[in-house]
């Protein structure tokens, strides 16, 4: 019974490939997501996942239906949007949310227009992805993204953390805060492109952001939050794929819904800052 429920689905090659791709995304994305949340840039990640669509469409237009061409186009478009978002943030003194909403609407509309004008691309496939159709190329793309993003983040970890906490200090000691921010954004764009291959551009940050948002209910310090986010993302991947297999719903939404369910559960019952933690009677020391 348990075997049929949990193990048997992964006897299929397409399920194993999907799982391997999602594990790669779960290892690379959530640590970046935790830092996006702490840097108050959650909205930027949303803009990025729409921002890559025109690049993917142009990649498909000029490079045929090769995933590498689409991924490369998406990466360049994502970088451009990241630079634009950063510039808007500075130009508006941190009140960039309305401008970012404008950027992502234009990017989404532009991407859809280009895709529709191009023969042979399935718009739904780009928007919603198809985890279960992950072929060796897509798997290579996701694994490659994870292999760059995770060590890359480890390299820029210290200056990035210090820049997030006290940007003025980094500037004062000549720490080139802007360069670390750019490197960080490049890694985020990389992960968004990797996510697109499986989850589509509408949900590519699902495995990156939802576990990261949920992580603050599990740990106070940064390392703990990163560990919690990765664990939640891995759990979402496995449970989401099983849900998709048994309930016969598309795998992308199933994974993101599972991650959303885990976030809701964390919000309600997690050990920190959750509803349950707030209702629990607080013990305190005497005097």
């Amino acid at each position: 019974m348990i075997h049929a429920l949990l193990i048997e689905p992964f006897a299929m090659a397409f399920m194993r490939r999907a799982l391997a791709g999602c594990v790669a995304l779960s290892l690379a994305g959530p640590p970046l997501g935790v830092l996006l949340v702490l840097r108050r840039m959650s909205l930027t990640s949303d803009v990025l996942q729409h921002g890559i669509l025109p690049g993917i469409a142009l990649g498909a237009l000029f490079g045929g239906l090769s995933l590498w061409a689409m991924g490369f186009g998406g990466f360049l478009a994502g970088l451009a949007v990241a630079l634009l978002a950063g510039w808007l943030a500075r130009a508006t003194g941190g009140r960039e949310d309305s401008q970012l909403a404008g950027v992502y609407l234009i990017a989404l509309a532009g991407g859809v227009a280009i895709v529709s004008a191009t023969r042979g691309i399935d718009l739904g496939h780009l928007l919603f992805g198809s985890v279960l159709a992950v072929d060796n190329t897509a798997l290579l793309l996701m694994a490659g993204v994870a292999s760059i993003a995770l060590p890359g983040l480890a390299v820029i970890w210290r200056p990035l953390i210090l820049e997030s906490f006290d940007p003025g200090f980094m500037q004062a000691v000549g720490g080139r805060g802007g360069a670390w921010h750019l490197a960080f954004m490049a890694l985020v764009v990389l992960c968004v492109v990797g996510g697109f291959a499986a989850l589509g551009t509408l949900m590519s940050i699902g495995l990156m952001m939802l576990p990261a948002v949920a992580a603050r209910h599990w740990a106070a310090e940064l390392a703990g939050q990163v560990r919690a986010a990765v664990a939640l993302a891995l759990l979402s991947s496995v449970c989401g794929l099983l849900l998709s297999y048994h309930a016969n719903i598309p795998a992308g939404p199933a994974i993101v819904l599972t991650a959303g369910g885990l976030w809701t559960a964390s919000l309600l019952t997690g050990p920190r800052d959750s509803l349950a933690a707030r209702l629990r009677r607080h013990q305190h020391y005497r005097g």
Binding site: L38, I156, R158, F165, D166, V173, W180, E221
Partner: protein, 248 residues
């Protein structure tokens, strides 16, 4: 440790299009301990940021006597930082040594020991792994002082170091400042506590956009200069005239 003098020549810095520091000339002598006093909006923070190289001078010059960036340490105003960020006290203090360690190298044991010592010196032994978000305002300011110790800079610029802390903490922090002065470092501190200035700071710069007085505290800081400073700072014209004072 005797740093070179820091010399301002006809310095003007703009803030939102209006002069925050206006035609200021003078010299912070090597090893001097100067209080910068003046009403809110008088350009005190802008002056410190300009000396630290974080604010570009519109006119005039700052001669830092060949000091490198990391030789000038700046304590920003409390509240300028994101204290909700989950970072431990020891890591904040260790970041003071960033210019020496660099962004990638492991923190050497000597620096770890120095972090412990600095935390002990500010009265926060045992706080190493505490997150800064759990600290009180006074404790947080102590951590910032420990970071300054790790920076080990010959010139220290302190923006309201004793604002929003209790009397005990203020006294402890003042003792640290006087210790730095005793070691021959140049210290410039923005302060609002006038009794403290009169008591503990040999030099005073009274600023109200325009420099009002600069010299030994007893000379620069009289009831007459204080009144002048208040009048200048409060005069906020809707349509100010263009300044025609020639750059020296």
């Amino acid at each position: 440790m005797t740093p070179p003098a820091i010399t301002l020549t006809d310095l003007t810095c703009l803030h939102a299009g209006r002069p925050a520091v206006h035609h200021l000339s003078g010299r912070f002598a090597p090893g001097s301990l100067t209080a910068v006093v003046g009403p809110n909006g008088a350009g005190k923070s802008t002056l410190l940021r300009a000396i630290a190289g974080l604010h570009t001078a519109t006119e005039g010059r700052i001669d830092r006597g060949g000091l490198a960036r990391q030789d000038i340490a700046l304590l920003p105003q409390a509240g300028a930082l994101d204290r909700a960020f989950p970072i431990a006290c020891a890591d904040v203090v260790a970041s003071g040594a960033l210019a020496r360690i660099g962004p990638f190298r492991a923190v050497p044991p000597a620096t770890r020991a120095a972090v412990e010592a600095a935390l002990a010196a500010v009265g926060l032994s045992g706080f190493a792994r505490r997150l800064v978000g759990t600290l009180s305002a006074g404790q947080f300011q102590r951590v910032m002082f420990a970071r300054l110790m790790l920076q080990d800079a010959p010139v220290l610029l302190l923006d309201e170091p004793t604002a929003a802390v209790d009397a005990r903490t203020a006294a402890d922090l003042l003792a640290i400042i006087q210790g730095w002065h005793g070691e021959g470092r140049t210290v410039v501190a923005v302060l609002h506590d006038l009794d403290l200035v009169a008591r503990a700071f040999p030099e005073t710069l009274l600023l109200a956009r325009d420099p009002v007085a600069w010299g030994p505290t007893a000379v620069a800081f009289t009831p007459e200069t204080r009144l002048r400073a208040r009048l200048v700072a409060e005069a906020w014209a809707e349509q100010p005239e263009i300044c025609t004072q020639a750059a020296a």
